[in-house]
């Protein structure tokens, strides 16, 4: 949102004069996102910008032929949003976040931060293609890092809370957050639990590290929002979404929270510090 606003401003648009942003939060729920889309169509919105696979799916089903610029989508082809990355074909285009693909990297960084870590908990909705893809990558990666994956399937917020209740310092050495909107929306509770039970958490979004998570590694979502503004501008000027290729992020940021590390009794190794884009003191 921040990035989109910034990006539109950089392209010379003035909010209120040239455009109005109608913002609706889907909170990882298909029905909420779907209702919001219906409401926005009634308000005669011209271009949709969606964040996340679930929200994009909801908007796609409801928005008919209106152009949609998606961001934060892991697998746009397998999710059925585009025909190919080069020529999306339909009324959708946007930005993938490469998060599933980089899950192994997050596990590797977690292991380097906490070498003693053996069992990693991953909470996800197996129906979300992005989450499923990320967990598949995680399954392939853990053995190489001599770790084990504990998979916990959830469908809604309550089940996430339940899964978090089960976390203790004995059966879970660390938590890996995968790009699952339902789980990510409860980031605060995950951080709370992590502090209580001294279990480190690896995120993919900087926001959660700023709020006390141990570390994150992923593309800058602000940057992705700014890129989305570029596509909104092009579509407004007559470009067809089906002809705008799906772009992939180029910048990945590693952010570490030193305070959290200290609270968890972790010494950050030099090999992590040397590549950290930001260290929150």
């Amino acid at each position: 949102m921040v990035g989109l606003r910034q990006g539109l401003k950089d392209l010379g648009y003035v909010e209120g004069r040239d455009f109005v942003l109608e913002i609706r939060a889907g909170r990882g729920q298909y029905s909420t996102a779907s209702d919001a889309t219906q409401e926005l169509i009634k308000a005669q919105v011209q271009i949709f910008v969606s964040a996340g696979t679930i929200a994009t799916k909801a908007v796609k089903e409801a928005a008919g032929n209106l152009p949609i610029v998606f961001t934060q989508v892991g697998e746009p082809i397998s999710a059925g949003f585009v025909k190919s990355m080069r020529q999306p074909g339909g009324n959708l285009t946007g930005f993938s976040h490469l998060l599933p693909e980089t899950t192994g990297k997050r596990l590797e960084l977690l292991k380097e931060l906490v070498p003693a870590c053996r069992t990693v908990l991953v909470i996800f909705d197996p129906k979300n293609p992005s989450s499923e893809e990320a967990v598949a990558v995680a399954r392939n990666s853990v053995t190489r890092l001599s770790m084990r994956l504990r998979e916990r399937h959830i469908k809604n917020n309550n089940e996430v809370m339940q899964a978090l209740e089960e976390v203790d310092g004995k059966t879970t050495d660390a938590i890996l957050v995968v790009p699952d909107s339902v789980v990510v929306n409860l980031g605060e509770r995950i951080i709370e639990k992590s502090r209580q039970k001294l279990v480190p958490v690896m995120f993919h979004e900087v926001t959660w590290v700023e709020r006390g998570g141990l570390a994150s590694y992923g593309p800058s979502f602000v940057d992705l929002g700014r890129q989305a503004a570029r596509y909104v501008d092009k579509i407004r000027k007559g470009a067809k979404p089906g002809q705008l290729p799906v772009e992939q992020p180029t910048k990945f940021e590693l952010v570490i929270n030193k305070r959290t590390a200290k609270a968890l009794g972790i010494t950050i190794p030099q090999s992590i510090l040397v590549r950290a884009d930001r260290v929150i003191e």
């Binding site: 990355m85 080069r86 020529q87 290729p245 180029t250 910048k251 990945f252 090999s271 040397v274």
Partner: protein, 348 residues
């Protein structure tokens, strides 16, 4: 019959014709040369801009190459494991050079020992034999090797750069460079108001353009006359059609190490605006000159015709027997002498 007008008209016509012809000829010649010089000047200017753009892009790539070179500097604290040390250097490299997505170290025998990536997990001691691979063979001679441009995941333009690794264990360092970053370099190059710079590879495929979507679509530009000409097929003219079919003033400069060509283009209307202004200026001056010379011609013709008219009228009066009339001509030349002869006639 009014003979005065005939002579005046004749004089006026000849003088105007002469002066106008001279003015038009000199104006035309100067217009032509000014057009040629201005056009040449604009083309030279474009060529210089293309060269500057090529230099900037070459600089950008050679900076990456230098950063690759730093990983080969002798490392402090020698006791440590050389692979571990190298990994540390590569991690620093990824932090410093955002365009590099992956770095691989191939040892002296051509086997992969280390792979550090932004996207995938690091691999130590894979041992895969790359000794026959052009990436390795190309850098063996101690030179830096650049691969042709390729596309990852269909849309992301990439290039491989490999160079001797130096340091402990020797071997070769291979880096996968994301060329989307060249896009940032190209986007920052300003050519006039509506002009732009772009880069094509040796096949004529677009690899950098301010509109990144065109690059990600792997746009083939080899059909454009200017691109074909730069690749040595057909004649290159400074004025050509661009991708959108607009007439543009175009120039190019090569980056020989990479086999890339940088093009700059400027819409013709914008490029030739100063030229049109100077043509208009010359035209207006010519028009003013013509009007002025016509006025002068009329005055001159009258100056020449008047004394002859006076002579003619005087002669007519003398002929009519009016002998005490003097003919007043004061031109100081043969006409005045002639009038004096007439004036003396009655006295004879």
């Amino acid at each position: 019959m009014t003979p005065r007008w005939r002579l005046f008209g004749k004089y006026a016509f000849f003088i105007i014709a002469l002066v106008s012809a001279a003015l038009l000829a000199s104006g035309g010649v100067s217009l032509y040369f000014s057009y040629r010089e201005n056009q040449e000047h604009l083309v030279t200017l474009q060529r210089e801009k293309a060269l500057a753009a090529a230099t900037r892009i070459e600089q950008y790539i050679s900076d990456i190459e230098h950063q690759l070179g730093w990983t080969a500097l002798p490392q402090v604290g020698t006791g440590a494991n050389p692979v571990e040390q190298r990994r540390y250097e590569y991690l620093k490299l990824l932090r410093q050079a955002p365009a590099i997505t992956e770095v691989v170290w191939i040892d002296a025998s051509g086997r992969e020992q280390l792979r550090v990536s932004r996207l995938a997990m690091d691999v130590v001691g894979a041992g895969t034999n790359y000794s026959k691979d052009p990436k390795v063979a190309g850098a063996k001679a101690g030179k830096t090797w650049y691969s042709p441009v390729y596309f990852r995941k269909e849309t992301e333009p990439y290039m491989t750069i490999s160079r001797p690794a130096g340091g402990a264990g020797g071997g070769i360092t291979i880096a996968e460079v994301n060329l989307k970053f060249v896009w940032e370099v190209v986007s920052r190059i300003r050519i006039g108001k509506a002009g732009l710079a772009y880069v094509v590879n040796s096949e004529g495929t677009l690899i950098a353009h301010p509109d990144i979507s065109l690059v990600l679509q792997k746009t083939d530009l080899s059909k454009l006359t200017q691109v074909a000409a730069a690749r040595g097929e057909g004649e290159g003219a400074p004025i050509a059609r661009n991708l959108k079919g607009e007439d543009v003033l175009t120039a190019h400069a090569g980056i020989p190490t990479l086999n890339w060509t940088v093009f700059v283009e400027l819409p013709l209307a914008e490029a030739f605006a100063p030229l049109y202004a100077s043509i208009l200026r010359i035209g207006l001056l010519l028009l003013a000159g013509l009007v002025l010379s016509m006025l002068a011609s009329v005055y001159l013709a009258r100056l020449m015709a008047n004394p002859i008219r006076a002579l003619q009228q005087g002669a007519a009066r003398i002929g009519a027997g009016n002998l005490d009339q003097r003919i007043e001509v004061h031109t100081g030349d043969e006409l005045e002498a002639l009038s004096e002869h007439f004036n003396k006639m009655p006295a004879i």
